[in-house]
């Protein structure tokens, strides 16, 4: 973790979001520093997915601000940027790995084209360079480079998730949003994906906001964890603190409801 940076990378201030009369987010504030991995845990309906979409610029909050450290400009409210700026940010400095790979991949386009799509959107047209980049990234995520021309529709679930990761990291973003990246995968495939995420986040110094309902995933990947219930953060702290010495009744219930992670 970059302990010496002076400003946080991402800053949420008093976020509030309603769906009709239902409160999906209330008074959510936190800071995320470069290289830091933050897990957001809670059961379905706790507001964790809403929070992720608000942070990622996909769902405007009713109240509060999401600030991101833009190079040379400091912390800027992402919802005050113009649409074009926000889109550029989302496809260069941010990544978003979806729970379901079909939401994050072009299923009928080759793996190689999936990987380099961001680079092409940024203007890279040189076929040889793009192909080399795709081959490199398939290897970084432990996919067989020989599959570069196959479409992900014929990939397994674990391979699709790894392809999604490659596609997001190809521009070396500073911040990645991970939405339940390992759910729905076999346990052995999960372990491999977690190990890959652990290695890549460390080697690239990525800051990550990770939404998961799996406390073992939080334990393995996240420096810090926030527990959400009914749209509010009920407890937050170092991940091991929260799991080994939960203080809030809801966190105690969560931790005692699973086999020891």
């Amino acid at each position: 973790m970059a302990a010496d940076s002076a400003t946080p990378l991402l800053c949420a201030r008093a976020l509030r979001r309603l769906y009709g009369r239902i409160v999906a987010l209330e008074e959510v504030s936190f800071e995320l520093w470069p290289g830091e991995i933050l897990a957001i845990v809670g059961e379905s309906g706790s507001g964790k997915s809403t929070l992720l979409h608000v942070l990622a610029g996909q769902l405007e909050p009713d109240e509060g601000e999401v600030l991101f450290d833009l190079p040379g400009r400091g912390l800027q409210d992402i919802y005050r940027l113009c649409e074009g700026e926000r889109r550029t940010l989302a496809r260069t400095d941010w990544g978003f790995v979806h729970q379901h790979a079909v939401d994050g991949l072009r299923m009928h386009v080759s793996a190689g084209a999936n990987v380099v799509e961001r680079q092409m959107a940024l203007g890279e047209r040189h076929y040889g360079r793009l192909r080399r980049l795709a081959l490199d990234w398939l290897q970084h995520v432990e996919l067989d480079p020989a599959r570069i021309d196959d479409a992900p529709v014929i990939f397994s679930g674990g391979m699709r998730q790894r392809l999604q990761i490659a596609r997001n990291l190809v521009t070396l973003p500073r911040l990645v949003f991970l939405d339940e990246p390992t759910s729905g995968l076999d346990v052995s495939v999960q372990a491999r994906l977690l190990d890959l995420l652990r290695r890549l986040t460390r080697e690239l110094g990525l800051a990550v906001v990770l939404v998961t309902h799996d406390l073992a995933v939080a334990r393995l990947l996240a420096h810090r964890t926030m527990v959400m219930q009914l749209g509010r953060v009920v407890e937050s702290g170092l991940t091991d603190q929260l799991l080994d010495d939960p203080v809030h009744p809801y966190t105690q219930l969560l931790v005692s409801s699973v086999l020891p992670p």
């Binding site: 290289g35 110094g205 702290g237």
Partner: protein, 256 residues
């Protein structure tokens, strides 16, 4: 401690430390475990915690490591230095930095990381320190070899060798190792980086006599380089061999 003739400054200072657990899902039952613990640890000493099982020895170590949150009192790390930190009030980010740089902790059990080799598990803390370096913001690429990596692995290899882990195991993840082997991996992993404060929670519990004496030597070397050590040792022979001071927790529990 005062041979030098000047007043020594502790590396760690606990004042009035208490810990109660409240179990909300067990009708809010409240368990007082530690009450008003005062303890300072100085460079070059090894404090052995004494007291019956359940008296809170491990809990005290976990409070210092900030794995548990204190109910009351203060825990100051490196008081009087520019790096001074009140651990009970520190932010998660400050705590992570303190663990990285200043506090080593050997737990009773190794929490294994799937698919990471024993060598890399042990080398990890040496690489963490350099994390802002070679792969920092402006120059991040996966192809670049971290120059610290070879040094860290060489150092890890020497620790594994010293602790008698067969070389054929180094490239394997420790999940399949025996209890004693895992414990030695844990010791190497936690002590490889020379941090000023060391917390040892039963580090020799499942070791044979030969390995116990190696760990006793390692603890002696850490003292010699000026570390302040606090530990629990089930084995009275080991406790007697490493202790420069004993601290009893028997009286600290509030009887309710």
């Amino acid at each position: 401690m005062t041979e030098g003739g000047y007043a020594p400054v502790p590396l760690l200072s606990l004042e009035g430390v208490s810990k109660h657990f409240t179990l909300h899902n067990q009708n809010g039952v409240r368990l007082p475990v530690l009450e008003q613990v005062d303890l300072s640890a100085y460079a070059g000493e090894c404090i052995v915690l004494d007291g019956a099982s359940g008296v809170g020895k491990s809990t005290l170590l976990k409070l210092i490591y900030a794995n548990y949150r204190t109910t009351g009192g203060s825990i100051r790390l490196l008081p009087g230095t520019p790096a001074e930190l009140e651990l009970t009030r520190a932010t998660p980010r400050q705590l992570l930095a303190a663990r990285r740089e200043s506090i080593g902790y050997v737990s009773q059990f190794l929490r294994v990381i799937p698919r990471v080799s024993a060598l890399d598990v042990v080398a990890e803390s040496l690489l963490e320190a350099g994390q802002d370096g070679p792969l920092a913001m402006h120059d991040r690429t996966l192809r670049r070899v971290n120059p610290a990596q070879n040094d860290a692995r060489a150092e890890a290899a020497s620790w594994l060798h010293r602790l008698g882990i067969a070389e054929r195991l180094w490239s394997l993840p420790p999940s399949t190792f025996s209890g004693g082997e895992q414990q030695r991996i844990n010791i190497a992993r936690s002590l490889i980086k020379p941090r000023p404060v060391l917390l040892l929670d039963e580090p020799t519990a499942s070791l044979d006599d030969a390995n116990k004496s190696i760990v006793i030597d390692i603890i002696g070397e850490a003292r010699a380089r000026g570390a302040a050590i606090i530990g629990t040792f089930h084995d009275p022979t080991v406790a007697a061999a490493v202790a420069t001071r004993r601290f009893s927790l028997d009286g600290s529990r509030m009887l309710t």
